[in-house]
Assembly symmetry: C2
Homo-oligomer: 336 residues x 2
């Protein structure tokens, strides 16, 4: 498999999706588009092997789908519609996937299946990218464009705003914790091998959220969102980010944080704290937003309010208020 | 050094460049731009340690500058003006740069110096990106937007068009060959240590082209360019790409290919073929274009013509025609 063949493969698979907006898609020095009607949104997201995914429990299909979904989540967080994608792909010359018995070509096919599924799911068209071998792990990155007539920033929260989150929080990181305690058998089925035996009906939705999250937008059903961010690194740190950009503080109520019965039950069996998954687990790809209006929508939960200042705090069931620390996933580099 | 500090650093350094087009730059889920007046161009380019650059002879400054320059070259190849950039940065937690005695922070500072220089050189503004640690090598990628009223594609070449290239070819790969035969001393000065001793006045411009190429656009001075591509992987393969997209063939004259006196002299001293550097060396970041009109511009050389069919050939000094094979840098993957 060489670069030219791989580009051919990509053009065959992704080059057929037509749009009047595309003047030149895959296969030139740059893609050429008619500009969007609204404002142009641009985001990029990296996925690195052994850091953002692990081949021992994540299939190439899931990796491909998640790469699209992560970027789409960023566009939704701006109240935008995702439109076009560029793909960067760095693949080692020899994949060490012995337990999956896959050639590089088979791996790429399955990865593309997932990317294709993600693109279809969110009506995104692949318009270009770059390919390279990798001297180490698998590195993926995508740049996604979107458009929005009225984008929502992190910086628009005002004292008095109510704070809402979509879905439930912690499912993904709880699912990941289960995956870390498992191995993948040859066929791809997950088998618990360590100190945990979690019933399938509990495990399944958690693994689904960890492996193949499907972000949903809220801007079409909610009026006047003042500020928004996607929860990718954890509620605590992402709320902190939103407050920082808005120069405000916030109070949230522990009991109001939406935690699924699956996370509660799995946490009990694992001997872990469900609140910790919800606050700092990350990878939720749910949306956190603030608005002056009370929202009554299924799947959207009010968890607190914005206030003046720069303090973030959480009030527990007995009414005790403590500081909410910006904990969550943060990359760190050592000093040489 | 953690992610939050690094983002702060990036905002301090790059966040101040104002443009009326930017509604939201670094620091949200996505950047928000007013659409371009012309067509929107989008390109992305990966740079991986030990594949696209080598820390033993390339400074972080040069790596940063080249990342910008490579992407700018793609926009110029579409007859566009570069505008905004997204940066993806994957850095190992511990850099193994003992001979450079650099901490991660120092490395990043120098890398940013080069990126900043590149952005200024080409009037590009950084509007966002993504950061990650890396479990292996350094991975960089940039996505660059541009605009063009009349973009030029690879596919527009017609039989009878004349073929032109800018600058001289092979300088970069010849410079790289010299670098491969050298080591970098602690202070950063290059010392030849192997079987070659090339005079400084020959070596210097070649190393400059290899380490810090500065692409120049041609679309403002040439009327009616029919097709264009940047020469990044080598004249032979990039001409082949252009012909393939245009469904045409081409003839080029060996003696007309612009080869600098530095490449000729260094090749003689190295015992290598200067033509091979020019045809398949790659990394030139010069432009190859076709037009019906004869061009008389300094630094632009006519090397042949487009014909019907799909054959590419080269005619040598004695008038002998032989097939021109699409040789140049191609990534290849093994079958596990």
């Amino acid at each position: 498999l060489d670069e030219l063949e791989l580009i051919e493969e990509i053009r065959r698979r992704f080059g057929t999706e037509a749009s009047d907006r595309i003047k030149k898609g895959i296969g030139d020095d740059a893609a050429v588009l008619l500009p969007s009607r609204g404002l142009l949104l641009l985001t990029t997201d990296i996925m690195v092997e052994n850091l953002h995914f692990d081949l021992s429990f994540m299939s190439p299909r899931d990796i491909g789908f998640k790469l699209v979904a992560r970027n789409v989540s960023d566009i939704f967080a701006m109240a935008g519609e995702p439109e076009f994608m560029l793909l960067d792909l760095c693949l080692p010359q020899q994949l060490l996937l012995s337990h999956q018995k896959r050639t590089v070509h088979e791996f790429v096919e399955a990865l593309f299946d997932g990317i294709e599924e993600g693109l279809k799911r969110y009506s995104v068209i692949l318009i270009g990218g770059d390919l390279s071998t990798s001297p180490g792990k698998i590195y993926l990155s995508a740049t996604l464009t979107g458009s929005s007539e009225r984008p929502v920033f992190r910086s628009g929260a005002r004292p008095g705003d109510l704070i809402y989150v979509t879905g439930t929080l912690g499912d993904s990181s709880c699912g990941l914790e289960i995956l870390k305690r498992t191995i993948t058998s040859r066929g791809g089925e997950v088998t618990v091998v360590k100190d945990t035996e979690i019933p399938s009906e509990i495990k399944k939705p958690l693994l689904k959220k960890a492996l193949s999250p499907e972000p949903e937008p809220v801007h079409k059903k909610i009026n006047k969102i003042n500020a928004m961010i996607d929860i990718s690194d954890g509620l605590a740190i992402d709320l902190w980010r939103l407050c920082r950009e808005s120069a405000v503080g916030a109070v949230i109520y522990q009991d109001k944080i939406p935690i699924s019965k699956e996370v509660r039950e799995a946490s009990r069996l694992l001997g872990l704290d469900p609140l910790s998954f919800a606050l700092s687990g990350g990878e939720d790809y749910e949306l956190l937003f603030t608005t002056e209006n009370r929202v009554k929508e299924e799947g959207i939960t009010e968890i607190g309010f914005i206030k003046e200042g720069d303090n973030l705090s959480i009030i527990d069931g007995s009414g005790i208020e403590r500081p909410l620390k910006p904990e969550g996933y943060i990359h760190r580099w050592g000093q040489k």
